[in-house]
């Protein structure tokens, strides 16, 4: 296949419809940035929940050696843990539960405060200093008194943390921001789809003579549609690149430089979450332009 024609058509097409392409790119840029923010916020909520428990979770600290609670006589024993597990399992308010080991607790603390403090000859804490814990997920956030009173007096239990009231506004605002971003993105996505559709209609109209002759002399459908698909792909890639840049700037200047240092009681999204968000928009962007292009080229360029 001669690609020279395809690429010269691609260049011509991009230039001919420049204003439309700019409109598509800008709409994609803003909508993909918002989608990316939604993805980041979603991950932020998960991250906070992994440390503080979700809106349905309460944490039962188990006794460790040298526990602050005088009721503890030493590290919780396996027999005590089994007794606690049995009470938890039989309680009707409990949907699910799992134990967390000292090592898991240590990993979380390291992630929150940074690993530097825990290295070298004089670490701030070691895994041995961490308590074991039991994470209980409730069926109903309002039904928790039965299980807390049942567990609190058991041997081997040091205390119960129910941070849900404190965390409620935090989760609430993360949630609101997430859905606000995704909802606004949804409108812009519709605008982007319509813009792409219009761009293709204009391009197909501008090239109707060429397309008519190509069909007549037996050019394959793929060959006819290829300049359109490449145009769609190019605009999508520019939109994705801009959105990834925007999200990167938000991560660096917003999260890393402003929030992270001041609000360090929860772990914040970082590089790996940014990568997830960029992958999400890198998949979504081309779909948003290629899908209407495929549908409409079938309609306008039918052999």
């Amino acid at each position: 296949m001669q690609l020279r024609y395809v690429f010269s058509e691609l260049g011509q097409g991009l230039r001919r419809n420049l204003t439309m392409h700019v409109a598509v790119v800008l709409t994609l840029f803003v909508s993909l940035t918002l989608v990316g923010l939604g993805v980041l916020l979603n991950q932020q909520a998960d991250k906070a929940a992994s440390y503080w428990g979700s809106q349905l979770q309460i944490t039962v600290w188990l006794c460790k050696e040298k526990d602050d609670n005088p009721a503890c006589t030493g590290e919780v024993t396996d027999a005590q843990k089994q007794a606690i597990e049995k009470v938890t399992k039989d309680n009707p308010e409990v949907a699910d539960y799992h134990f967390e080991s000292k090592e898991q607790a240590f990993e979380k603390v390291k992630e929150l405060l940074g690993p530097d403090k825990f290295q070298g000859p004089n670490p701030a804490a070691t895994a041995a200093d961490m308590p074991q814990s039991l994470w209980i997920t409730l069926k109903d956030p309002d039904q928790y008194k039965g299980i807390t009173s049942a567990v609190v007096g058991l041997d081997g239990v040091s205390g119960i943390r129910d941070a849900r009231q404190t965390l409620k506004p935090l989760y609430g605002s993360i949630n609101a921001l997430q859905w606000g971003a995704l909802g606004t993105a949804a409108f812009l996505v519709i605008a982007a789809l319509l813009l792409v559709a219009n761009t293709i209609r204009l391009a197909a109209f501008a090239r109707r003579r060429e397309i008519g002759i190509m069909r007549l002399v037996g050019a394959s459908t793929v060959y006819i549609a290829l300049p359109f698909l490449l145009e769609a792909l190019v605009t999508a890639l520019i939109g994705v690149t801009l959105a990834a840049g925007g999200l990167g700037a938000f991560m660096y200047f917003g999260v890393h430089q402003r929030i992270e240092g001041k609000l360090n009681f929860i772990p914040w999204v970082g590089g790996s979450e940014y990568v997830v968000a960029v992958i999400a928009i890198a998949i979504l962007g081309p779909i948003l332009t290629l899908l209407p292009t495929l549908v409409l080229t079938r309609k306008y360029l039918k052999v």
């Binding site: 060429e210 037996g218 394959s220 459908t221 052999v303």
Partner: protein
Amino acid sequence: MIRFEKVTKTYAGMGHPALDQVSVDVDKGEFVFLVGASGSGKSTFLRLILREYRASSGRIYVAGKEINRLAGWKVPRLRRSIGTVFQDFRLLPNKTVSENVAFALQVIGRSRSEIATLVPETLELVGLEGKGDRMPDELSGGEQQRVAIARAFVNRPMILIADEPTGNLDPTTSVGIMKLLDRINRTGTTVLMATHDAGIVDQMRKRVIELDDGRVIRDQAQGVYGFQH
């Protein structure tokens, strides 16, 4: 080469069929005129050969293949074996004569070296040697139609379809175009031409198929345009 077996074509929303039980057999290398009033079904007949539409019923064979059953992605291959010329030339105004002819080869993926030989060769055949660098609007109507014929023939199709190719041309120029189509026919290409031009049909004395209201009312070897003339 082309075979219609009881072909009926009814367009959506039209009660009356555009073609009604048409059976026609055209051999390889024949020259056939398709005549009849406007709306008699000539264009539908030609478009069915190109598989621009599917027949509502009946079978159409082109080069041995039943094209009604052809999968959509095989249609381009069918069209590569058919050249088409129209009354309004349909040249690309922003390309030179050579580029217009070369376009037909480029878009079906022929190599540059093939294009470099075939295009001048074909322009010479249609009598346009030396005019490859002109733009279409610098040419006369007859010359433009020669470019269109060159474009239709450059891929050496087995069949050439011409839908009123002389409809926009004066009689003298038309004779030149007919001579050219006759020359192409002599290379073994089957030529199928729809026309209203009685003079040409009477002069050429080729096979004539007359359509009226979607039916074949006459199929005559070495025929004339019509008895009313």
